[in-house]
Amino acid sequence: MATTTMTMAKALNEGLRRAMEANKKVLIMGEDVGKLGGVFRITDGLQKDFGEDRVIDSPLAESAIVGTAVGLAIRGYRPVCEIQFDGFVYPAFDQIVSQVAKLHKRSDGVYTMSLVIRLPFQGGIGAIEHHSESPEAYFAHTAGLRVVSCSTPEDAYWMIQQSILHDDPIIFCEPKCRYWEKGEVDTEHAPHGLFEAVVRRPGRDVTLVGYGASVRTMLRAAEAAEAEGRSLEVIDARSIAPLDLDTMAASLERTGRLVVVHEAPHTASIGSEIVSALSERCFYSLRAPGLQVSGYHTPYPPSRLEEEYRPSVDRILDAVDRVMGFDA
């Protein structure tokens, strides 16, 4: 077993490198991805090694980044687009929703929309506006797309490669506040299927479900709860669309209580989806309604207030208290 310790940023970089080595059709494109290696250095060194034709520094226009990637995919390439920050994906929304998501169908399967859109998402880095958003629900709501998120370096390393290999278009959400956290990466054996949820910590009383940056927060909450004698199961959804409801339902059948954690406003969110889907699947097992701990229904705040906005250990424990307070 070849296990190395590295940051998530490095793991993504290595994953991209391996994907580019494995297949000449893999291209990287985006703003500042070349010489600079991206503002987060995720593509560091790749242009030097693979050339300007495969690591493309683009003009500053997101609709064009995604729109030309569609054309490259039609030509048989497998572009990996970097959107510099979550809040800058919206100029490309039209291309993503009307073209990326629909061209496979519109062409009766002739076109393969084999492209990955990398999106550093969620908050926690003390940034200015538009640099900390959680747009995953927009994409999950859109038929034709898939949305995944990594929470560990190992997943980052493998999931980016699995996504590039996959023939459907994938919105790849990277929890930017975790880029610099280190973890073990087994570079020989892929850990899990791309669309599988993973139980990160087993527990008996309440099922916590989240993804991306929220996973570590949930684990911390579970630790804190343990001190109080409460056993929380932590599930990393990993695939945001489609959701691996089987893994979640199996947990919920045991715990009977659900709290979903994410950073977006809760209306029509992934949290709403998980709660509503599981309320049907596990109707007879639910001992309390599924609750969400999410961003508030406001624009992402100036970052001096972001820790009040983002789900915190306290807010998660508060929701745990509330689901424990029900008795059905």
Partner: protein
């Protein structure tokens, strides 16, 4: 209309004229054959309009008046070139070999596409204005990376020229020197919006501001459109980068069969353009030069008639698709919600399609 800036090689009266930069290279055989294309495309278009009137199509977007623009460009393409149409490029589709009935699947509302875009090297119809132009630039970037000697042609209208996607395409194509020809059919109208709302100056000028050549061609002049397109395509294939071709033409019919153009434009304008009919113009040339026997025109008309009948037959035979096809080709790989939907529909016992 005939200004210095408009490339014209054939007058509305069917007389050849010279131009300082372009000269017709078409053989008589080619002109004769492209005349046939135009007649057939118009006849098929008329048939489609009737089919719509008779309730057999959900909608139709007529191409009348733009036949020279489309056959001129379509016949200038090399087989390996790739084209990205809007919803009105029936003439281009014809040149690429798309079976006429397939062009109508979108309008019969039995498909959102209709043909195999890789087989005909002609992409699926794009309804969202401008989206396909970026795809074309990306495809052209792929051609560059493959080191292939191919060109790409992107079609859009005067109205779409205002969309960010089209304008960003200009930036990108110029930046990467992509082998692409932007073919804008300026048919003077975007539904009810006159050209003057999109630009106060001739559209082809826009290219210059992005650093590549733009040229305005008489879009009702088959000979000129062919030469201008050919040179732009050759230039693209040879690494010369993008060109914007503005084909100055006119939409003689309604925007679509849902449209009522009498609300926004006067008959007199349409009349003026009827006198510039692109098909009559070539016919006049053929007659003037005695290129074909008088009977040729009837032969072509008859052939077109036959194709129209065939089209009608094919369209009427296009039944409602099996509802379960809803779930096909949404994803390339297994997706639980697709399976769930399929299962639900089967359980509901929703009737299959007509075949």
């Amino acid at each position: 209309m005939i200004g210095e800036e408009l490339v014209q090689l054939l007058t509305p009266e069917g007389e050849r004229v010279s131009h300082p930069e372009y000269e017709s290279s078409l053989t008589n055989d080619q002109i004769v054959s492209f005349y046939r294309d135009m007649v057939i495309v118009r006849r098929l278009c008329n048939e489609s309009t009737s089919l719509q009137r008779q309730g057999q199509l959900a909608l139709w977007a007529p191409v009348q008046g733009q036949e020279a623009a489309q056959i001129g460009a379509g016949r200038a393409l090399a087989p390996m070139d790739f084209t990205f149409p809007t919803y009105r490029e029936h003439g281009i589709a014809w040149c690429r070999g798309v079976p006429p009935a397939d062009m109508l699947r979108l309008f019969r509302a039995t498909s959102n596409g209709g043909w195999d875009p890789q087989k005909y090297r002609h992409s699926v119809p794009t309804v969202v204005l401008g989206n396909q132009v970026l795809h074309a630039v990306g495809y052209a970037m792929g051609v560059q990376r493959d080191g292939a000697e191919e060109a790409v042609m992107a079609f859009f209208g005067d109205g779409a020229s205002s969309q960010g996607d089209v304008l960003e395409s200009f930036v990108w194509a110029s930046s990467y020197n992509a082998p692409i020809v932007f073919f804008c059919q300026n048919n003077q109208w975007g539904i009810s919006t006159p050209m003057s709302v999109q630009s106060k100056i001739p559209l082809y000028h826009r290219a210059h501001g992005f650093g590549f050549p733009g040229v305005r061609v008489d879009g009702n002049d088959l000979l000129a459109v062919y030469e201008v397109s050919k040179r732009a395509l050759d230039n693209a294939r040879e690494g010369g980068g993008p060109t914007l071709v503005e084909a100055y033409t006119y939409r003689l019919g309604a925007h679509t069969t849902s449209d009522d153009p009498t609300r926004y434009r006067v008959d007199a304008e349409v009349e003026v353009w009827r006198h510039r009919d692109p098909i009559e113009r070539v016919k006049a040339l053929l007659v003037r030069e005695g290129t074909v026997k008088a009977s040729y025109f009837d032969e072509v008309a008859e052939e077109a008639e036959g194709l129209a009948l065939q089209l009608r037959e094919d369209v009427l035979a296009m039944g409602k698709p099996d509802p379960l096809t809803l779930f096909d080709d949404v994803y390339a790989d297994y997706h639980p919600l697709i399976e769930e939907g399929r299962r639900e529909m089967v359980e509901l016992g929703v009737a299959g399609g007509e075949h």
